[in-house]
């Protein structure tokens, strides 16, 4: 009988899951950004239904991890901040999706 530390292959991958991506609010931000080329913070607020403080804090963490790039600019006289996934960010989302799928398949 397998020990508590050993499980079916695939489920063990959960231990290696990217914890930056795995946090629900950050995962939502990454998934929204994976569906678009770029989006401003107003759109991200509406799509994720996070509070402004939460969104800002999580985007900063994702930016520090190199998964999101933030561009501040203006549309006319109004400031607009755009966010987009980096290549590493898209890779991280794909890897996360694959890891979770393997774990779910192994658990069946």
């Amino acid at each position: 009988m397998p020990s508590a530390r050993q499980g079916p292959e695939g489920v063990n991958h959960l231990a290696d899951v990217n914890r930056i991506v795995h946090e629900p609010a950050r995962l939502m931000i990454l998934l929204v950004l994976s569906t678009v080329q770029e989006a401003d913070f107003v759109f991200l607020l509406n799509a994720t239904e996070l509070t402004w403080g939460n969104l800002s804090s999580h985007v900063t963490k994702l930016e520090d991890a190199g998964y999101v790039e933030v561009e501040k600019g203006f549309v006319g006289k109004k400031p607009r901040t755009l966010a987009r996934l980096t290549h590493e960010g898209r890779q991280a989302v794909d890897d996360y999706r694959r890891t979770m799928q393997q774990a779910l398949d192994a658990a069946k």
Partner: protein, 216 residues
């Protein structure tokens, strides 16, 4: 502890927010089919060619108004997002546009002159099939297009729209067969239902999405 977000649901919601949340698409669709429902009346007055010009002109105006409303009204509330162009989505977009153009072309040809239909069905086929073939085919095409969009974007009402418009058109053709041309009630009713959906969505959109000004 919050529930883990479902990946596909989040992506569908994002696509839905970009296109279907503000109700403008529904208002445009309802307007197009309402114009089609008054088409017989204007055709009787203007003749087929000028009526077609009028229809296309009004279509362009309605599309322009929808784009303006989206930019002026929806964008400040919803925010800006630029869609991604994955190869899969591009292919789907091309196929959808192709089917829409084909359907529109058939509709316009038929509205202009329906005599070309007779050549498509063998003379040995049942009379009702020869008479209503195109309109019968329109039903699965409409249901197919709208159901595909409904699935991709997670918008349930689109499934209803496909049936409303397909069955509405077929019903109209059957009940008005041989009758003098006038307002197309079934299609007008379908368009009216869609317009009501659109108006309701606009009201809900204004309530749920106040204008945000973030100084970031």
């Amino acid at each position: 502890m919050s529930d883990a977000p479902k990946i596909q649901d989040i992506q569908r919601r994002t696509r839905r927010l970009m296109t279907y949340e503000d109700g403008s698409w529904d208002l445009l669709l309802g307007t197009i089919f309402f114009l089609l429902s008054v088409y017989p009346i204007t055709r009787a007055r203007l003749g087929p060619s000028w009526n077609l010009v009028l229809f296309i002109g009004l279509l362009l105006v309605a599309s322009g108004v929808q784009m303006f409303l989206k930019w002026k009204f929806a964008l400040p509330r919803l925010g800006y997002a630029k869609g991604i162009r994955s190869p899969k989505l591009k292919a789907l977009f091309v196929v959808t546009i192709g089917v829409v153009i084909l359907t529109f072309g058939v509709v316009v040809l038929t509205l202009r002159d329906s005599s070309w239909l007779g050549a498509l069905v063998p003379s040995s086929g049942p009379i009702w099939l020869r008479r209503f073939m195109v309109d019968i085919l329109v039903v699965p095409v409409m249901v197919g297009i709208f159901s595909t969009l409904g699935y991709l974007f997670g918008v349930t009402r689109l499934y209803l729209y496909g049936w409303l418009l397909g069955i509405g058109n077929l019903t109209a053709v059957i009940i008005y067969d041989g009758a003098p041309e006038g307002f197309n009630v079934p299609l007008g009713l379908a368009a009216g239902i869609i317009l009501v959906f659109g108006a309701t969505l606009v009201v809900r959109f204004v309530r749920n999405y106040p204008v945000r000004t973030l100084d970031v």
